[in-house]
Symmetry: C2
DNA sequence: CTTGCAAATGCAACTCAGTTGCATTATTAT
DNA sequence: ATAATAATGCAACTGAGTTGCATTTGCAAG
């Protein structure tokens, strides 16, 4: 999963390799954690790539449709985006410094989901689990 | 936990019993599930109580401070509020009709939290768990 | 009942994340 | 080199929620 392969795959599907697209893919590959639109913008500025916010949102939409990233909500009124996960994982959110850490959870909640589905006649498609607390630095 | 007792408790603490306050407490008691500011407004109109949105938000803040309600995020860009829970519970959210159902989960994730805390040196204070899928009606 | 005062309210104008319409620019296949 | 159209920039907008400030109202004390 490197920059060149991803961009080549996009190009083969008929999508153009613009400076915004290349830079944003790079940003996500080099920052493996949830980023807000504002985070993305400041990372782009670091790469000397100046883009309009509309373009950032449109590129986010594109990368979501391509399943390169996915959208998550951490509850602070701002959407975040992270690399499309290979593994099933959740998030540790520090209430002090707002840092976010991803944690693996193999076979997470499968038994619980089965029980809940049956009891409530609700067909569970996915779940979202977040832990709020204090990270190592902020304790 | 009835209307009169709650209002009396507020009055004893020196808070005023305005028509907005009385109506909003009533709305939450009669709608035991997460409501958005817009939901609250339409319920108030049903009770023939017309209030400015600023007042609704300020009353939400008041009821949050009083721990009569709490704020939750369901991920649709709008905050929701529900009666302050006695029990530990989570939510089933229908991706089709957006209805929300509360479900009990006694001793939910306690063992997992212990493991996660130790492994990541993260002091967990609370967690949020949501199940997305199809409710009985929408399947 | 009247009065005084702080709590509560309404209004208008604002913030901030995200969206839309439209004219312009740039990438790519030929 | 060129044409087609994907991508961009800009300005104006939306919608949830907030703020400052002048006005109204609930309620306790006289």
């Amino acid at each position: 999963m490197n920059l060149k392969n991803i961009l080549e795959a996009f190009r083969k599907k008929g999508h153009r390799l613009t400076k915004t697209r290349k830079a944003m893919v790079r940003v996500f590959l080099h920052n493996n954690r949830p980023l807000s639109a504002a985070d993305i913008n400041s990372r782009l500025e670091h790469l000397a790539v100046t883009v309009n916010k509309t373009t950032i949102y449109r590129e986010i939409d594109f990368l979501k449709k391509e399943r390169f990233i996915r959208e998550i909500e951490l509850g602070d009124g701002m959407k975040r985006y992270e690399l499309w996960p290979d593994d099933h994982h959740h998030h540790l959110i520090c209430v002090e410094c707002n840092s976010v850490k991803c944690i693996d959870m193999e076979h997470c909640l499968v038994n619980e989901e089965k029980k809940i589905s049956e009891k409530n006649n609700f067909m569970i498609m996915e779940h979202s689990l977040k832990f709020f607390g204090l990270c190592a630095k902020c304790q």
